[in-house]
């Protein structure tokens, strides 16, 4: 019998190591095969979880509190599914993108493997220290991917990213240490009954440190300063991975703490987070509307879209809010991966990286712009797309609890998104001569971007299974 849970951690480690051994620029097919297997495992795990509740594995037979427990409930299974589902098409995309000795792609494959191993481990870890380890693994692999481009700007962005991510995980670790000092355990399950609202001040400080560290890693406004240069400067497949998955990992962790060990403390910060989320939506959208470069625009759109995720915190007492959050994670993950991939194609094909440089490009890249449009639909929250379902659920949950302010913010955010999405599309539809810098691009690049964007829309036609899975 294959234990899907364990293999989801071992497989990426295995192919990452192999790719490293194979040498620079090698290992693409290995990664794609590995990811295909991982995707099948994630689907299998989701099915098991949906049918039988929580799946768990005790590493080496040592149970908590001594050993390491791995457990997957509906939320974990959903995140695993999204991670493999986004990474697989992106790997196929990256293989075509990094072809022919692109220096940026030299260490892409091993780093991708370690990143995925870290993410997968993060989603199934059940103790706070273990989570720290996975968080560091994800952060370091991600910094490596950004820096791999090698340009001055990219290294500078990577360095800034490195400081942010280390500061974030450092704050988290400090919080975990304080908790350990207070209660003598780092297991989520053991902490749950111990941490109450009457906890000593030190525990409150610990919770504050942990959440602040994670907010820094999630790039919630005003901690977003590192994100646009890192996501905007990295090679497109890397930007896609970072925006779609990596920032969601730390968000997932906040959600876990909120619903798990720190549930007695964190709800006091609910409105603060929602306020920052609203600010992120407005500030991110505004910067995206003003951005000159395409990838900067998309990176700021990520800042805005992450804001939606934090609108759900005041609503979490209602079950619909968690569903809305997960739907938004899926919507943004698929759409943003598709959009960054599409932007990479546009930049490769036109030889220019500004929005103005896209004039008339729809003629040469119809599939890519269709992909951009579909992803844009999801980001704007227009039906039929998963982004629309997420928006609907957020507004519905907000009205159900009388917090109409949140509904207004969500609706306004959709309109702002329309401004920056159509800024790009408008430019593309203009009649313009073909620039000298234009080159042909492989079809694989276009269609993988399209597949991701289309998935973000199709999920909007059938979200029942996902929602049921989340509620397990």
């Amino acid at each position: 019998m294959i234990d899907s849970l364990v293999w989801l951690l071992l497989l990426p480690l295995a192919w990452a190591t192999l790719a490293f051994v194979l040498g620079p620029g090698r290992g693409a097919w290995l990664a794609i095969a590995g990811l295909a297997a991982q995707f099948a495992l994630a689907v299998d795990l989701a099915r098991i979880v949906a049918a039988g509740g929580v799946a768990a594995h005790v590493v080496g037979g040592w149970g908590a509190p001594l050993g390491i427990d791995l457990a997957a409930d509906g939320l974990s299974a959903a995140m695993l599914l999204l991670t493999q589902g986004v990474a697989l098409p992106l790997a196929i995309h990256a293989r075509a993108y990094f072809k022919a000795g692109d220096p940026a792609g030299v260490w892409f494959w091993p780093l991708l493997g370690f990143l995925l191993a870290g993410l997968n481990a993060l989603f199934v870890s059940a103790d706070l220290f273990n989570l720290y380890v996975t968080l560091e693994l994800v952060g370091l692999a991600a910094v490596g991917l950004v820096a791999a481009g090698g340009g001055t700007q990219q290294v500078a962005a990577a360095l800034r990213y490195l400081f942010a991510t280390l500061l974030g995980s450092g704050a988290y670790l400090l919080g975990v240490a304080l908790l350990y000092g207070a209660y003598g355990t780092v297991s989520s399950a053991t902490l749950l009954p111990l941490v109450t609202a009457e906890a000593p001040r030190l525990v409150w400080i610990a919770a504050g440190l942990m959440v602040t560290g994670l907010l820094l890693k999630t790039a919630l406004f005003p901690f977003h300063f590192w994100l646009p240069p890192a996501h905007g400067g990295a090679p497109a497949p890397v930007s896609a991975l970072l925006s779609a998955l990596v920032v969601k990992a730390s968000f997932y962790l906040i959600l876990r703490l909120w619903l798990g060990p720190l549930q007695a403390l964190l709800p006091s910060f609910a409105w603060l987070l929602a306020l920052l989320g609203a600010a992120a939506i407005f500030w991110g959208s505004w910067q995206a509307i003003r951005a000159v470069k395409v990838k900067r625009l998309i990176a700021y759109s990520t800042v805005a879209q992450l804001g939606y995720l934090f609108l759900i915190f005041p609503l979490l007492p209602a079950p619909g809010a968690l569903q809305a959050g997960v739907m938004q994670v899926f919507a943004h993950g698929l759409a943003k991966a598709g959009m960054f991939a599409a932007a990479g194609v546009m930049i490769k094909a036109t030889g220019q990286d500004t929005v103005a440089g896209l004039a008339g490009a729809v003629e040469r890249l119809p599939v890519t712009f269709f992909a951009f449009g579909l992803a844009g639909m999801t980001l704007m929250g227009l039906p039929p797309s998963s982004g629309f379902l997420a928006k609907w659920q957020i507004i519905d949950a907000a009205l159900a609890q009388g917090h109409w302010v949140i509904a207004v913010v969500a609706l306004a955010g959709g309109l702002l998104a329309a401004v920056y999405v159509f800024r790009v599309l408008r430019q593309a539809f203009l009649q313009a001569p073909v620039p000298d810098t234009a080159t042909a691009v492989p079809r694989t690049l276009e269609w993988t971007a399209f597949a991701l964007a289309a998935a973000s829309v199709l999920l909007g036609l059938r979200g029942v299974e996902l929602m049921q899975l989340v509620m397990v």
Partner: protein
Amino acid sequence: MSMQELLPLAVLFSSLVPGLAIFALPESWIGVRTTLNLFGAFAKLGLVFLLLAGVAAGDEFGLRYAVLPGLDLAFKVDALGMLFITLSAILWLFTTLYAIGYLEGAPHRSRFFGFFSLCVTATMGIAMAANLFTFFVFYELLTLSTFPLVVHRGTDKAMRGGTIYLAYTLVGGTALLTGIVWLHHLLGHSEFAHGGIAAALGGDSAGQLKIIFLLLIAGVGVKAALVPLHGWLPQAMVAPAPVSALLHAVAVVKAGAFGIVRIVYEVYGIEFAQSLNLLLPLAVVAAVTIVWGSFRALFQDDLKRRLAFSTVSQVSYIALGVALFGPVGTIGGLVHLVHQGIMKITLFFCAGNYAETLGIHKVSEMDGAGRRMPLTTLAFSIGALGMMGAPLTAGAVSKAWLTDGATAAGMAWAIPVLWASSLLNAAYFLPILWRAWFRPAPAAWPEEHIPRRGWRETAWLLLLPPLVTAAATLAAAAWADASLSPLAWARLIAAREYLGLETP
């Protein structure tokens, strides 16, 4: 899956599948593209006739499935939906034929016809939506799929028109969504039902229901071009003529008007809406739109712009009919949904013919056009006379029922509004006809693209559609009492919507 579920799906797919296939076609595969287009259009028409027969016999068609727990994408085919479906399916066929002729040799035709098919799919979805959620899904899909058509020419002017169109419709869509989620939250569902669903909430939520009504009507009012939400329509006339036909007759403004009908009759219920005092404000807005649109049309020299303002005015006849409390007004409004469609599409086809054949874009260039293009001008004249409500045209039937409806509802103030509109219509259409028929032609046309060949004043694909729709304008009046005429169908709908009342 039973026939009752399969038919509505087939209606959607008969344009969706050809549309998606057309996107994938290389530009040069003209034969395949045309075949796919026409196959889709004829298949849809066949399916629609099957449905029509079924609905007339009282069969129930529909299907639903859950998108989220407690939220269904649901379709139903009822008499009211069929009115819109049939109109769109028939006009789609002629618009497709016209577009094939119009765009001959133009670039990006695969893209054009792909989005064109998506538009019609969205329209069918709007007509068959069984709840507000589904309605909204297709309503926004319509917005998105028309944008590439409006900006099809890729000029700066087209972009400006397209951007204004988006700005209006997306903001309107947001208002609509707000209203829908709010109502959904209050009721727990948003299903359309004869007699309405909002009455179940009773008078306690009257205040909220009034705000929701405002949001919903503002949302659909943007597409229906109610004043002051009409600003996008004259701007969007930069689009190619087949797109204008689509916007003004087949899909967009009709979707807005149809939305008003659904919301008033099947969400609020006409009697409950009356008890909340919602109908009079709606009637006043419609009346203002009718007069203002006609008034503005007077001053437009650009032919398509004049027609656009005329649409602003004419579509509100439907809203006015809906807002007149009583079955007679309802019938007048519903029948005008169809009549306005066939008349306005005729006018836009003709405007396109003048532009494509002779390069005429302005009213002031129309001198003598009737002698050069007698058939087109004949069709244009029939359409224009219909708009004025001249006897023997479809417009006369609409106007008669609306006038009677106003009297029956005790809203006699609406009658002078209708008369004033007719006078203004005459004031802006008759000079065009006079110029075309009686003024001498200039020495040279602005830009003659298509030379006359024998009796054919222009390409036959451009000529045929307006002639057919002009004939339909006359036929709708001559056979108004026939069993499947638009009027007969509107009476059937009124009989089903006014559950307790005697209908004529």
